[in-house]
Symmetry: C2
Subunit: 447 residues, 2 copies
């Protein structure tokens, strides 16, 4: 393969042969790549730039002249640039587009509006729901060799257009995070002291790819106002502030509640989206649940002979499976929420599941006694009433076992425990419920 | 009635005739009341003190000597004092015990540990779940006639044992909140400027009795680090800081999720509480749901003749009522969460309910078509299959209507919409489901 010249560069770019283009580019010197980029329109230069490995991209960016740097940054929010990218298969795109270098990210984030950031997320290489999408670059950066007086002067200068000045970030020569100094510490310190002496070294931080739920947890754990966000090479890119944490917790709770109610999706604007898209979101789960419920129907259909003989048995089906679902939903609720808030640790799974089963047994005995009386009053058949009552006890235990265990099992398979929704557990208990019912009926009525 | 002398004071206190005691006390001068209080053991003096109207209590407190003031404050966390109070009927207690005066509250909160505060909540007059229970008295207070230099000096002095120094509170001569100054503003301002000139007047605040969910909303709305808490006379008592907001939002979400899963209660420590107390918490809802489900059973029992003739009808009951519950749970989920986060306003109730019904109609048509095929395959009876399919459409519409409307109706009756739990809506749909099923069966099978 010949070395990449300008003609071939343009050709590969036009024909969207991005993998070959990347191969060709990484064999060149950073200055040569910069030369090539400056010869094509900026939105196309941007595409080529985004294909470069992160380290190389930072070098190439340094070799662009100021005008071209700015043009490139501007084209990040450009429609044309995204249109190019959308021509790539999603998996190729993910493979080729690395996180932008810290120096580019910081400059970019400062010129992009929040709306533009959302639009350009693909080009930034930050996935939805990660720290990269939540952070702001508007922090105060200090150097460790500054005096407190110099630091305070810098804080004063930057204060107007910084998101917060209460936590300042000290960077080393490689723009890596060396420590933090709070404004409180600066105000309390001697003015001639060095920042290096009063900063807290090794502060907690998150990566741009850290899940935002993790970010919220970390901020609360350390009880801090802001948390720094670094890129894969630990260069400081931005910060996430305390007010984002409240939003994150609320949105995560919405997500969990939606899942528990078997409503997929989390994005706001539910009430403004079109009816058909609402139907589309809900129909999948319902269809799956109906599929599971056909098993329940088949079990009952298989008992036609028994039901024809003792018709009253059918009258107790909704009560039995309904209670199973309700008991199971209660157990699932406490375990799912416990896992989400960290109150429950997966290592205690067995103990918690057994405990739930104990609760189920007692609930079953209490409710079974009540149902025994009602069932006898309705059917005037003591044998049937005893079958119903015993089934309720068995269902209670099984429901608490299922409700307690399923969230742990989902977690084991890397699924969100909140997917064990109330409708899900209800439907599962429908099957177990009728199966237990007819099993006990056959056993006790000796049919 | 004779004026209250020491003998009668002791007598009324011992015999727990608190209403008469209060009547007698308020006729005396503050200094005379203080005299009486200093003659009895401090935990009894405290009881008498807590019966006083708020304004009078503040005056009486001023008249106590230092030793007795401290003894009284200490006895707030005293077991004996609470034992006395527990002798009162709860409604009388609520009527007699006013919020403690701001000056007492601030001093008290500083000496009580968080654990003690929880225990003494009753004596403080702050109800569970209100701002009074969340606040800290460790704030920086300034006067408006201070210079910026003086203010900064005070901030430096207080910094060590204050929860935050980033927001400072300016009080007027009556210890009412006059404004706030951020440390940022102090750092940026000219040192000779007056606090009065740079403070923000009329800052947002909450009352000690404000619901903590309301507090969290207000803090987020104004995007501030802390919010001041004032008593009924607008005297500054404490502040609530940003890190409490995250806790509040998380706990409120837990409460909603628990309710939606029909698990009463919210307190942490669920997994450490005793099994019997867990059973106690859950059994009430289950019992209620079983009660409702007896209606479902009775409806089915009333159809013995029809079921005896076409036994296969029973096989479709779980699928029909199950789908009704699931569809209803989805609608309830989005409406409940929308109301909790403020995305849905009650004034839009009708529009949202009708929209849900539209979603239900489309879902019913889609799912009904699928179920028609399955029902025919299972029962080999086209008429029955058509009954099942039509019932599913009707149930879908009714479930979205119920799921969409019930949270609004609950709210109308001042109940938490989250009480429309998945188990609740499932159980309601059980009744409607079987009723619709047999109604349609009779109609179409002409029986």
């Amino acid at each position: 393969m010949p070395a990449l010249d300008e003609y071939r560069f343009r050709e590969l770019l036009e024909s969207k042969q991005y993998k070959i283009l990347r191969q060709g580019l990484i064999e060149l010197a950073p200055s040569d790549i910069a030369d090539l980029l400056m010869r094509v329109p900026s939105e196309r230069a941007l595409i080529a730039f985004r294909l470069l490995p992160k380290g190389l991209a930072a070098d190439v960016f340094d070799h662009l002249n100021g005008t071209h740097q700015n043009r490139m940054l501007e084209s990040f929010s450009d429609q044309a640039a995204r249109a190019f990218l959308e021509g790539m298969p999603p998996d190729d795109r993910a493979e080729l587009l690395e996180e932008v270098p810290a120096v580019v990210a910081r400059k970019l984030l400062r010129i992009l509006t929040p709306d533009q950031r959302r639009i350009t997320a693909q080009l930034l290489g930050y996935e939805d729901g990660t720290a990269g999408r939540e952070m702001t670059p508007l922090f105060v950066d200090l150097r460790s060799d500054m005096t407190v007086a110099q630091a305070l002067e810098r804080v004063r200068q930057l204060a107007i257009n910084r998101e917060t000045i209460y936590e300042c970030y000290v960077m080393d020569d490689h723009r890596r995070l060396a420590g933090t100094v709070s404004l409180k510490d600066l105000v309390l310190a001697d003015r001639d002291n060095k920042v290096a002496h009063i900063m807290k070294p090794d502060p907690p931080f998150v990566f741009t790819y850290t899940d935002r739920e993790e970010v919220a947890k970390k901020l609360r754990e350390h009880d801090i106002l802001t948390i720094p966000v670094v890129d894969a090479e630990e260069r400081l890119v931005g910060i996430i502030t305390h007010d984002d944490v409240a939003d994150i917790i609320e949105e995560e709770a919405t997500e969990d509640i939606y899942r528990f109610g078997a409503v997929p999706g989390t994005e706001r604007g539910y009430f403004t989206s079109r009816i058909l898209s609402v139907v589309k979101r809900r129909v999948g789960w319902l269809f799956l649940l109906i599929l599971v419920n056909t098993v329940t129907g088949s079990i009952i259909a298989g008992q036609e002979a028994l039901l024809a003989e003792i018709v009253i048995l059918a009258a107790f089906i909704p009560l039995l499976i309904g209670t199973g679902g309700n008991v199971g939903a209660q157990s699932a609720t406490v375990v799912i929420r416990g896992l989400a808030t960290g109150e429950v640790h997966p290592s205690r799974a067995l103990k918690i599941i057994l405990r739930e089963a104990g609760v189920g047994a007692i609930l079953g005995l209490v409710l079974g006694a009540v149902v025994l009386i009602w069932a006898y009053a309705l059917g005037r058949n003591l044998q049937v009433a005893i079958v119903v009552s015993n089934t309720l006890i068995a269902i209670s235990i099984m429901a608490t076992l299922a409700g307690g265990a399923l969230p742990f099992i989902f977690r084991l398979f890397k699924l969100d425990p909140a997917l064990v929704s109330a409708p899900f557990i209800t439907t599962v208990m429908d099957i177990f419920g009728v199966a237990l019912y007819f099993f006990i009926a056959h056993l006790m009525l000796r049919l």
